[in-house]
Amino acid sequence: MSTKEIKSTKHILVDLNDEGILTITMNRPQKKNAMNVEFTFEMQNLLMAVAASKEVRVVILKGAGDGFCAGMDIKDFFDLSEHDEDSLSSAKEVANHWRVRLLRKLPQPTIAMVHGFCYGGAFAIVEACDIAFCADSTNFALSEINFGHFPAGPVAKSLALAMHSRAASYYSLSGRPFNGKEAESSGFITKSWPDGELEAETIKLAQELVKKDPIALQFTKESLEHVKSMEWDAALSYNSAKFAELKTLQKGASSRATSVANFLDGKFKPGLGS
């Protein structure tokens, strides 16, 4: 897996610019970018390649056409005329895996750029991104309840993580739609912008982020994620270890180069206790 594996596929467009900003576009506009089986496997492969790439510095995730994503294409996940049983059960796992783990644990900062609509399973995509920007006119809905269903898979957990609990209960029990500003005050969205400003503001932020130290960005994400579940003393201990690791990695290239030079000069003998 490497940068050269980062390429557009049938349902996903990618664009990696010179600055290191990778734009991932969910591209199934005729189906409101709903996630089907093929898309799910494509996204898994893509995110594994992104995680391994040093060239990608920031990820923007968006939808093609009229909106962000309408959630799962449930029908396709049960369509035995199109898929065999094994690949369907694998796809169901992967649909959770990429949202819950791969996207969340990317070393690069991630920005969800949400416009048009965002429904059901797409909430778990937005939540897993570090920063979520949307357009004021975006139509959000957790309408599962209106079909006798409930926010399934990772969605309920995503709501609990990013939304105030009152908002999570209200929107998922009532199924009522809400707009960008309401999504921002629910805690789910970082900031809602006037429609005409969303893209420019997203790019402006991404351009700021690519100028920052990539290791420090990664460690900031990791600290926020991990210290929550630690006791204070464990957080202090984790901090000391991370601090030392940061200094080592930031010195990385040059100190490795020095070590190699010393090795070549005979001053340093790896593994010989020198």
Partner: protein, 226 residues
């Protein structure tokens, strides 16, 4: 009322004791009240005394000369410090002690008044407070990332406890400053007021609470530990 301890033994903390309210003002104006080695040792020392003082009913924390604090003084603590390693080790220990333990275990309520800058290492103080009043011109931020650094474990933990998830990620990854109103939306601040009222409102609240607590029978009103 007679002060419960020697207030003038502290050089970088400006202290005032009045009717059960101990006002602790961070006072290092040339560094916008950045917390360096000397100040951190003083904070640890002071809080040790506050913890066992029955006279202090409320602790009010603020900054002198228009700023709360710009956080930890990196230069004094880290790479470029000209301090003795043993002294730095003692200062790091003191810092961990007061922001990860002492402030959390105080039985007295803490009220913070935030004017001007409040950055990075100052966030755990707000997180430990019962009530935070901020001037509408105050500026908040986690600037660590802007110099290739991270909000360390204890700061990240405080941020995770006090702020919404979106606010925590956005401000720590972008390094962008944010306003008092935004700080309130993101959970860091309880109340935003006009800048000329900030100290007065905090003091009034502190005295009201102190008065109330003075009228209670002397029992252990310790906060539940978290």
């Amino acid at each position: 009322m007679v002060s419960p301890f020697a207030l003038n033994e502290f050089k970088q903390l400006s202290l005032n004791f009045d009717n059960g309210v101990l006002s602790l003002a961070l006072n290092r104006p040339e560094k916008k009240n950045a917390i360096g080695v000397d100040m951190t040792l003083e904070i640890e020392q002071l809080l040790k005394q506050v913890a066992v003082s029955s006279a202090v009913k409320v602790l009010l924390i603020r900054g002198m000369h228009g700023n709360f604090s710009t956080g930890m003084d990196m230069k004094d603590f880290f790479d470029h410090s000209d301090r003795d390693p043993a002294e730095l080790a003692r200062a790091r220990h003191a810092t961990n002690q007061w922001r990860s333990r002492q402030l959390r275990l105080l039985s007295q309520p803490i009220i913070c008044a935030v004017e001007g800058y409040c950055l990075g290492g100052a966030f755990p103080i707000l997180e430990c407070a019962t009530w935070v009043v901020a001037s509408d011109t105050a500026t908040f931020g986690l600037p660590e990332i802007n110099f290739g650094f991270v909000p360390g474990g204890p700061i990240a933990k405080s941020v995770g406890l006090a702020m919404t998830r979106r606010g925590a990620s956005y401000s720590s990854l972008s390094g962008r400053n944010f306003s008092a109103h935004q700080a309130k939306k993101w959970g860091l601040v309880s109340h935003v007021c006009p800048s000329d009222k900030c100290l007065a409102i905090a003091e009034e609240a502190a005295h009201a609470v102190a008065q109330h607590l003075s009228e209670q029978p002397t029992t252990d009103h310790q906060k539940p530990s978290t």
